[in-house]
Symmetry: C2
Subunit: 250 residues, 2 copies
């Protein structure tokens, strides 16, 4: 059984359109490289009830949940409290988090709001933040990370050694300058013959090109030989349709 | 009561990290401009059970749901079937969709897979696609759109006239070159005094700058005068802390 994960993105700024979320894409690639299947992602606002509901749904359904956002010092950073409530545990200053934050500030500048970043649900362990100090944390099957992409990425690096590895997915991408609707019948037959792989079709339109309609066809699976056999059959299909298939880096 | 919406992004390619989703961000901005609150977004793969479950959860919770992806001609395009199942209605060729698709192809090229794009759940109305013809559709409180961004945007334009308008949100963004932790105590007090607005704090780090740590503070609300009063109070707070606040376009 593959290892399955979900992401919970927390932040009004994503839902208002102020900020384009890039963390989901980054984490997706990161997990794929580890052989872990990302199965779902959700975005909720800075609303405790919604964070709790989303987190509880996801942590019950998947092996791991990664959250981003809401662990800074300001009043709208409520993720730690929401996670404590979701797990029905208390929350308070974590001695190690408190000490490392206290050491970062000049005397008198470690104010009550900055101390909020040391509030960690009981039973959680810290996730190091090599960029800006304030840690994330890990409780149960949930990893809680910052929303600032540079910090989130550093936390992901810190988490990586403790994550299990799944069987890596092999993906072969074949591109052809032919409308996907013309490939679709053969592609459906190919998918039926190669049930162990997933074949995805992603059309594109390249304005100004002599043959503007095309598709990238992606064959994915955990058995490299099976993926390769399906990719070769796909290339033969495309050639038979008069397209000139090209493998591309994906 | 504000008008509330959700997005359901459908596609393995988002979860595998092959593709960065940009549709959520675009729809978020679009809805914000209409005064509609985007409250949640979810991403699921090309798995019928998961599409059905996600759609039914979201359409029960929000006034509108917008889906993207999975309405093309290939075997992995299963959104229309999933939507029909979610609504417990039949599905079949929609005469108008069939006719407009048939007209697009030379004789003999309107194959069975392309005809799939004319399969529309019973009771749905079509959403025009001015880019590539194959329509989206609207059923109940759900709008089903393409995943290709250019096509999705055209569909959103087609949908816009039939969407209700909410009271527009006024957002004022104030930037200051001061760490958010130094602003946080005053900001929390300000939020308590101005409960009718939501104040968000988004830290940044600008490498190479003389004062690299800063924050963008966003005041949002539906009463422009109340937002302005809170923004003026925020600027006074920042000035009192020695920062030079600047309003910026957001």
């Amino acid at each position: 059984m593959a290892i399955q994960a979900a992401i919970l993105v927390i932040g009004d700024e994503i839902l208002s359109g102020r900020t384009q979320d890039t963390n989901t894409h980054y984490i997706a690639r990161f997990l794929t490289a580890l052989g872990i299947d990302l199965r779902e992602a959700r975005v909720v606002g800075d609303v405790e009830d919604e964070i709790v509901a989303g987190l509880n749904a996801l942590r019950a359904s998947y092996d791991f949940v990664f959250t981003t956002g809401g662990i800074g010092p300001t009043h709208d950073d409520i993720t730690a409290d929401a996670v404590a409530r979701a797990f029905d545990v208390g929350i308070g200053y974590h001695p190690e988090a408190y000490a490392l934050l206290e050491a970062r500030y000049p005397p008198g500048e470690f104010n009550d709001m900055r101390k909020r970043m040391a509030r960690i649900p009981h039973g959680a362990t810290l996730v190091a933040n090599s960029v800006s100090g304030a840690p994330g944390f890990h409780i149960g099957n949930v990893y809680v990370m910052a929303g600032v992409p540079m910090v989130m990425r550093a936390m992901l690096e810190a988490i990586a050694p403790e994550l299990p590895r799944g069987a890596p997915v092999t993906a072969v991408t074949v591109e052809a300058a032919i409308p996907e609707g013309a490939i679709a019948p053969g592609l459906a037959a190919l998918q039926k013959e190669h049930k162990e792989v997933a074949i995805g079709s992603y059309p594109f339109y390249r304005e100004g090109s002599a043959a503007p309609f095309g598709a990238q066809l992606v064959v994915r699976g955990r058995d490299g030989a099976v993926v390769e056999a399906a990719a070769v059959a796909l290339e033969a299909l495309l050639t038979s349709l008069g397209a000139a298939p090209q493998r591309i880096k994906s």
